[in-house]
Amino acid sequence: MDDSVKQLLRQIIRKIPSSKLESTLTKWDHLSKRQFRSLDFTQPKWLFCENLLSLCEENDLTVKQVTELDMLYHIEHPNQGTWYACQLVDAEEETLSSELVHFRESFKKHLKYLISHIAVKTKKNDDGSIWIRIAWGDNFTRPNHLKPSYVVHHLQTPYVFVSGLTAKYKTLLHQALVLSTRYRSITDVHLSGRCLSALRDLLMRQYKQVFPTKYPRPLQERNPLPSTPNIENEHMKHTENRLQMAAEVFGDGALPKLETAVYKLETKYRDNGNEMLSGREEPFRGEVRFTSSNLLESLKSCVSSGIACAPVTPLLSSITQKGRNYFVITDKGPGISRPPGPKI
């Protein structure tokens, strides 16, 4: 083991919280049973790290095996950093579904063809997704394992989730993905968030949805309002309608956890009182940003409690309906226009 590998292992151990070290190392499986038993997880981290280093030195682990630890930790705890969603479009042949082995080989081959100094590691997760860890390097430098990019792709679906990717390597990754799957191009779907499973659920619609019905009976049964006969609500019907509408737009039960929604305004300033601004030719640029620990839940409760007026504006409802949380609003479009995303 040379110094760079040791440095890498130290960095990885530093990132993993002490409480999760044991479970992650159990999965890692590069230490013998005796070695694992000799580890003391109650030790301070630096001391633990030194002990672990000496054990790894005994086993003479390579960079590949050390990065596997980082990858295992990321697969177990994916909600770190921001994930961006991309969608593959224009399927070539529908009958041929891509296989895991084929995808893995061809992705590695294509990416290495585009840029030579990289390290790619793939792993299949239990839920059927493929995790790809890419450490990027330049023409003259070795792959930087300290700042890897993670790519998650569910085979049979057109969605790809990326985290930790710099703009420099974006096109390369997109190109490699397009070449190794049976699609013609890839676009950014303008959806990002910290929680990977939430993005996946939102795009694949794997949350409890409510559809408009003529007789919304079941809703009445779980209506929390009347508790005693002495309290009566005058606007009961109105309240029921609102709850139904909120559920139709945002879904029911536990909603996917999004953190932000951003609206970029490129519209003309409209206010009759202000001549200076409303008379201008160029658009008034602004950004509206909604932030919450669970944005969809907050918006839903705004609607169901009557703070926001119903019906819900299409700007808010398109977060769930279109699966995006970044919008550019211009004057000409029908409300929401899609900016030209990076296409290959």
Binding site: I231, E232, N233, E234, H238, T239, G306
Partner: protein, 184 residues
Amino acid sequence: MSLKPYSKLPELNTANVLLVENEEEFQKRLSEAIVRQENSVNVTVRLARCLPLPVENAEGRPRIDLVVFIVHLRSEQSLLSTEASLKHLDSGYFLGKVCFLVTGARSGTVSYERLASIKRTAASLNCPLLMTEDKTTEGVHTAAQRVLNILKVSAGLVPMASGLYLSTLIRCSMPTDSDWQNQD
């Protein structure tokens, strides 16, 4: 169709209160606190987001003895909605059967103008204005107690007192300019 105070007959040992609030959260907690606190009198609470009340309920609605407008100083909408609702109330109610309940006055971030505006409205209508706390359980409990006290008088359940008499005593006074300076 505006709500009228004397269009229906009163029932024995019964007091009915109408809580008007454009958000429903505090209203619900307050109504539960009111119902739970009162044992000797049959108190009915009716909840509404705004006035006028829906016509289809008019038949079954009992005589309303007290209308409480809940105003959250945190939201401008709450103030506007209250002012709009006031127009749909019969003038008979303003003879001691209306009170205002203000929450969030202690928060330093709300503008004093809103409080002054609701005070001015209450003073011009000769109505009492209660300051309450909506975030804590004790606050809701106290608010319920105070609403109940006024309700019992305005429903005629307290001998020798009437709503008009009480509200003349405890009505809100017009905010003066010196109040402004004290706030600043």
